[in-house]
Structure formats: structure tokens, C-alpha cells
Subunit: 134 residues, 2 copies
Amino acid sequence: MRRGELADASGCNIETVRFYERAGLLPAPPRSAGGHRLYNQDHLRRLVFIRRSRDLGFTLEEVRGLLELVDGGYTCGEVQTLTLKHLENIQGKIADLRRLERTLSDVASTCAGGTVPECPVIDALFDKSVGGRA
Amino acid sequence: MRRGELADASGCNIETVRFYERAGLLPAPPRSAGGHRLYNQDHLRRLVFIRRSRDLGFTLEEVRGLLELVDGGYTCGEVQTLTLKHLENIQGKIADLRRLERTLSDVASTCAGGTVPECPVIDALFDKSVGGRA
DNA sequence: GATAGTCCCTGTACCAAGTACAGGTTCAAG
DNA sequence: CTTGAACCTGTACTTGGTACAGGGACTATC
């Protein structure tokens, strides 16, 4: 398989394949006489693993950790630990965004709209406390 | 006020002040004979505006838009439009993350933990469909 | 065997939104 | 006048890719 085929088969962008190779997530494949990368099913499997992990919101660093487990042997418990930790991260982000949403809709609700050349939202951004940060 | 004082007073990092100047969000202040930036209360007000907008999750591009309104005159309705649009963005992100959380906790729940050298989470990442992307 | 068209090669630059640092200068206090 | 802190500039780094320029390889057709 060449790079374009691998990309299509995995759902990755063709440039991303090279990027993952440079990042050390995907092993450098053998090359043709002319220097073209030649992939096999193992590469595809691994690339799909990476893409799915990314779809689940794991960072590349976390994916690297998962791949190390995969390569070096792992227990279900180790994987569970990483997964639950990541889940907590996601939940933390959701909580942050909900606070933000709350603050923002509070601010927005002070605003009556219309063609008045002043706005409490702008005033709040300039002058008032606007709630904590994410 | 010098740059460090402005940074402290606004809650920004000192480097960020320079970054916002380069980005065209904060006007270049007058300089001392030796080239040091000298800020006034208007700069502080504007920087606080930027920081608070950022805290509310507006991108720098959106902050730029808000500042253009501030500088050029605006109606409450215009501000409201931007604010509500941004609120929708945030809500969209929350929805994405909640789908992700759901998928992730579904995957995590298949996993029993312990010292077994295999894990359904890993299997899912390699072999199964794992749900849509954010 | 030539040629066209597609794919691939490398290196590099770009995005957001800053942060950090090196190497040199200025300011303010003592 | 000296010291030390704060400042100056330019540049590199981060994350997770994407995009492009300028060239080479592969494949099919004539």
C-alpha cells in the first residue's frame, strides 16, 4: 500500500500519515527502490488505532502512552486507568464550558438588543467582574 | 505605567501584552527616551477588555471584532448578535464533548480492569467502530 | 522508448494564542 | 557610579495537523 491508499483506508489525511511517522507514532515503513513508502496491514491497523484514539479525544501524548502499552504488553487495569483519567479530563472540560456558558448567557441576558448605541455587555467587559476563568 | 505594571494590573502575562500589540489589538504606546513602553489608563482598560473577552471564550478574531465595534460605534443589537453567536459556539462544543464523554464512558464500561493481559478498550480501538468524531 | 498524468518525495511555512528565552539596553535606587 | 531589576528585540517552542513548492517515481498508453 502506498501512502495515499493508507490514508484513504484509515480515514486520515495523507499528510497526517507522514506527520505521525515523524512524531514516532507510526513506524517508518520499508521503501520502494525509488523511495516510496510501502505499507502493510499492520500499519493500517495501527493508524486506525491512532485515529480512533484521537476521535475519542486522547492527545497524541496519550496515544503514545496507549501504543507503548500495546507494544510492550499491558493489563486491562492499566488501560482502564488511562481511560478513566481521560474521561475525567473530558468531564472537567465540560464543567468548564458549562460555567462559561452560564456566565456568557447571564451577560447576554442583560442586553436588550436594538439600535441603542450602548450595551451592557460591552460595559461588563470593560468595567465589571465577569466571572472566573476556565 | 510600564509593561510589567500593566501586565500585573490587567492579569495578563507580560509577554502577552507585547503579543497583543503585535496582533494589533492593543495600540502601540508612546516610548520613553530609552525605548520603554509607557502605558496609561486607556491601555489598561482596553487590555482588561481583551482579557475578559478571552476569559469568556471569544477568539482573538472575535475580540478584534468587538474592539472594532467599540472603536467605531455600535448598537446593542450588534453586540448581542456576536454574543449569542459565540454562545451557540460554546453550546456546540459542550454538545460535542458530551457525545464524546458518552462514547468514552461506554467504552470504559466494557473494561473490567485487573491484571488480565487483554482489554476490550484496546480491542475497540483496533477493531471496532467507536462512534463519530467531534 | 517516449510521454503524460498521477502519485509521491523532501523540506518548509502556516494556523491559534500565547510562552519562553538569549543577548543586550535602560531605569531607578543607593 | 554601580548594581540589579525591569525592559528591549527577535526568535523558537507548543499542539495537531494542513498546505505548498519544486522535484522525482510509477504506470499506462502510444
